[in-house]
């Protein structure tokens, strides 16, 4: 390519470094990053948590936390944004560079109508009103229904996807030259994610603006990116056009990350022959109702409606669905953390309906059905040592402290942690290690059924696959029946033998994973599969290291 054809970059980052405080685990959050954001292109900055990708984006906006010292240059239209006077930076922010965030609920003012919030952008930048028409047009451009009415609603009246659309409308209100999107779809469901990504892409094309997209998901990169830069430990390890980096990654780390991305493909596993039913649920119903006030009527929401399934020994049943589909509620009913309104749950070897047992009758049966939780940080008591956390069930069931210590050692080895870990507190461990501790705790009482509620959704992809392998291996070795709750069909494809798809509290499709995921019959299942980001690109990509 001729050098003259290359347009000048919109933003040129040179030797950007951001120094961390004295007690941090490394010296620099961002360590000598060079990056060009070109006009009219979407640049994806990819990395795992703690790689410094968000700090880089925040440095462009001048939003790094106060004590962090930035050095280097961020050149935007002749100005160095580092050390720029606050008022000059404010004039650029919003007008020439727009930003959207991961959690739109936290970024919008909860007590102000959304139309007013968009108007504020105009008013703040000194554009004379009235703004009504502009606001309505923006909202209509974002594909929001009835923009003339919607602008009078409060953020809590809108769905997550609608809120993100309002955020994008605010960011684009003044036609900025650059849009910075910090994980804009991470908090959204797959189907909504697909729509939002399409919206960003369309807006970028139409306005010819540059986009810096921060993401941890290579699927998102494949879906909308033009160029990609991979970050690790504050440095950029690889960059290039998306097709090139995804098709022929040069750096080992990029290759590891790409291989770790779960993909939708059938699982090679011979059928276990005869199914030995372990747990079955029949027509389980759960309705939530808000407490009616004097003037407000009672509102009821059917969280789970007539859910039925059977789980066999040594088999994984996946329950997939979007947020609010009732999958977590169903899981909590199965382990009896919640009570159901109607229905039956039967466990092999137990007479009668588990849902009808009193808490006294239930106590000795609790150990047979255990749970692995979603959040590796909230699920471990920060004030107890790992030994106490894992042994709490054993000790409560009258096992001696000495026997418990031996068992904890065994369990730690089983989940590939050092026995020395027992003496430490949870804050000494990373997310993936904490999840292993959570799994060890669930296995301590030798359960027959393991209910895993989104056990990998809070983890980085490279750690995800290892935790999934561990769960699969344990299910196999201990002949567990595993109920695996997930929103991610790719994860389900990797680990589940059978899959049930839930939508608004109902199981809409259920069957062997190969049938449901590769030959779906319901429209909703098809929609979910279609929404997986970057599906086409990854289906073509051969895996460099076979997973099995």
């Amino acid at each position: 390519m001729n050098a003259l054809d290359v347009p000048a970059p919109l933003v040129a980052i040179r030797r950007l470094s951001v120094q961390l405080g004295a007690n941090a685990d490394r010296l620099y959050a961002v360590d000598g990053v060079d990056l060009d954001i070109k006009p009219g292109k979407i640049l994806c900055l990819v990395g795992e948590s703690g790689s410094g990708k968000s700090i880089t984006a925040h440095a462009i906006m001048g939003l790094t936390p106060k004590p962090l010292a930035c050095s280097g240059e961020i050149l935007f239209d002749g100005d160095n944004l580092i050390g720029l006077a606050a008022e000059k930076h404010r004039a650029i922010r919003g007008r020439r560079i727009g930003m959207i965030f991961q959690e739109p609920m936290a970024a919008l003012n909860p007590v102000m109508r959304v139309g007013r919030q968009i108007e504020e952008v105009f008013r703040y930048h000194g554009i004379p009103g009235p703004h009504d028409e502009r606001v309505v047009k923006l909202l209509a451009d974002m594909g929001l229904p009835e923009p003339d009415l919607l602008r009078h609603s409060f953020p809590f009246n809108l769905s997550g996807g609608q809120r993100q659309r309002v955020m994008i409308a605010m960011a684009l209100a003044l036609d900025p030259e650059l849009l910075i999107a910090d994980e804009p779809t991470t908090a959204l469901d797959v189907t909504t994610q697909k729509q939002i990504l399409a919206l960003i892409k369309a807006a970028q094309k139409q306005r010819g603006m540059g986009v810096l997209m921060i993401t941890h998901d290579f699927g998102v990169v494949a879906e909308i990116g033009d160029e990609v830069a991979v970050m690790r430990h504050g440095r950029i390890v690889e960059r290039g056009p998306v097709s090139q980096v995804l098709g022929d990654p040069q750096h080992d780390y990029t290759r590891t990350l790409l291989d770790a991305v779960p993909r939708l493909r059938p699982r090679k596993r011979e059928p276990t022959g005869e199914r030995e039913p372990l747990l079955s649920a029949e027509r389980v119903v759960k309705t939530y109702s808000s407490r009616g006030g004097w003037f407000a009527p009672r509102r009821t929401v059917a969280a789970v409606q007539d859910a039925s399934f059977t789980l066999a020994r040594g088999e994984t049943l996946g329950i997939v669905g979007e947020s609010g589909s009732g999958k977590s509620t169903l899981a909590r009913i199965i382990v009896r953390l919640l009570s159901a309104d109607a229905g039956q749950v039967r466990l092999s070897g137990v007479e009668g309906n588990m849902l009808d047992l009193s808490s006294g009758e239930l106590a000795p049966l609790r150990r047979r059905v255990q749970m692995v939780f979603q959040d590796p940080f909230a699920s471990l008591n920060p004030r107890r040592t790992v030994f106490e956390i894992i042994a709490q069930g054993l000790l409560a069931h009258g096992v001696s402290r000495q026997a418990a210590r031996q068992r904890v050692d065994e369990l730690l080895r089983l989940v590939a942690l050092e026995p020395a870990a027992a003496a430490r507190y949870p804050n000494a461990f990373s997310g993936g290690q904490r999840q292993r501790i959570g799994i060890a705790r669930a296995l301590a009482l030798e359960p027959d059924v393991l209910v895993a509620d989104e056990p990998v959704s809070a983890l980085d992809v490279s750690i995800q696959s290892r935790v999934l392998e561990l769960l699969d291996d344990l299910r196999n070795r201990l002949r567990l029946g595993m109920l695996f709750i997930t929103h991610d069909l790719r994860v389900a494809a990797q680990i589940c033998d059978h899959v049930a798809v839930m939508q608004r509290g109902r199981i809409v499709e259920m069957g062997p994973a190969a049938d449901v995921l590769f030959n779906p019959r319901q429209d909703y299942t098809k929609l979910l599969i279609d929404s997986i980001p970057g599906r086409g690109a990854f289906a073509r990509r051969p895996q460099s290291v076979p997973n099995d």
Binding site: S379, N381, G393, A396
Partner: protein
């Protein structure tokens, strides 16, 4: 010990701790510092501060220094015991209300609000007057009027903690509810409760002084509030009668507040602006 180091970073807290320690030593060593009954007449009435009586004497010829030294005992004892009882009641009520929720919560919150709507000092006067003034009745009265704020704090802590996944995990492990409340949830809620409790000791000392000032103190024991109350008629003739016990009250309460704030900063490092940014 990082907790102590964080505490020691706060100079005000260290100064407060030093003053508080001095007051405690004074209280413990009262029989040595000022032997004999502080209520006994020692010399001429209304003598100004001198070498023999550094803080002077009151209108009955009692040594004011002896009164201040012995008064420290009453103030600290009442402050500590009444706060301990208030924390015990408050945490139990708050923990049960917050953990169980539902109608249990409704009932307990109504009871708490009932106590909170009565002006606390008037309520305390009423209780002491009914029970006749004595050490026990004063401690009881102060505890009864001060537990509601602790209950509310404990309730909100427990409400947010009981939804955490580690509590659910404890339920699945078969732990009993009292075990979960005491050994899983309480340790996570304890820091704000310690801070609030430490600040309440100061309030309790002030309340006791105010009660004694009004003549509702234990008649058999000397206390700072009683000394100031007795001196109010001769305030303009004998300033030393009210100034020294008044200073003792002010210094002790200030010291406790400083220590309480230091504890707050040390126990909740992420709450104050000085926390280091990282990770």
């Amino acid at each position: 010990m990082p907790l102590f180091r964080r505490f020691a970073e706060n100079r005000g807290a260290v100064a407060g701790l030093a003053v508080l320690a001095a007051v405690m030593v004074m209280a413990l060593a009262a029989p040595l510092l000022a032997p004999g009954d502080p209520m006994a007449t020692r010399g001429q009435p209304l003598l100004p501060p001198s070498a023999q009586f550094p803080f002077g004497t009151d209108m009955l010829g009692r040594d004011v220094l002896a009164g201040v030294v012995h008064g420290a005992r009453i103030s600290l004892v009442i402050g500590l015991i009444s706060t301990a009882i208030a924390v015990l009641i408050g945490v139990s009520v708050g923990a049960i209300a917050g953990f169980f929720g539902g109608w249990v919560d409704d009932v307990l919150v109504r009871i708490t609000e009932f106590f909170q709507t009565i002006p606390s000092f008037i309520f305390a006067i009423l209780l002491v007057a009914i029970m006749t003034p004595s050490l026990t009745s004063i401690v009881t009265a102060i505890a009864v009027v001060t537990w509601p704020p602790i209950a509310r704090l404990a309730r909100s802590e427990f409400m947010s903690l009981r939804r955490r996944e580690f509590v659910e995990a404890a339920v699945l492990s078969g732990l009993s509810r009292p075990r979960i409340i005491v050994s899983e949830v309480l340790p996570n809620a304890v820091s704000p409760l310690i801070v609030m409790g430490s600040l309440m000791i100061a309030t309790a000392i002030l309340t006791e002084s105010a009660l004694s000032f009004l003549g509702l103190g234990d008649p058999n024991r000397i206390s700072w509030g009683y000394m100031i109350g007795a001196a109010r008629t001769v305030f303009r003739q004998a300033w030393w009668l009210s100034v020294f016990p008044g200073l003792a009250i002010a210094l002790t309460v200030l010291a406790i507040n400083l220590v309480g704030e230091g504890l707050n900063d040390a126990l909740n490092p992420h709450l104050n602006g000085r926390a280091k940014v990282g990770s």
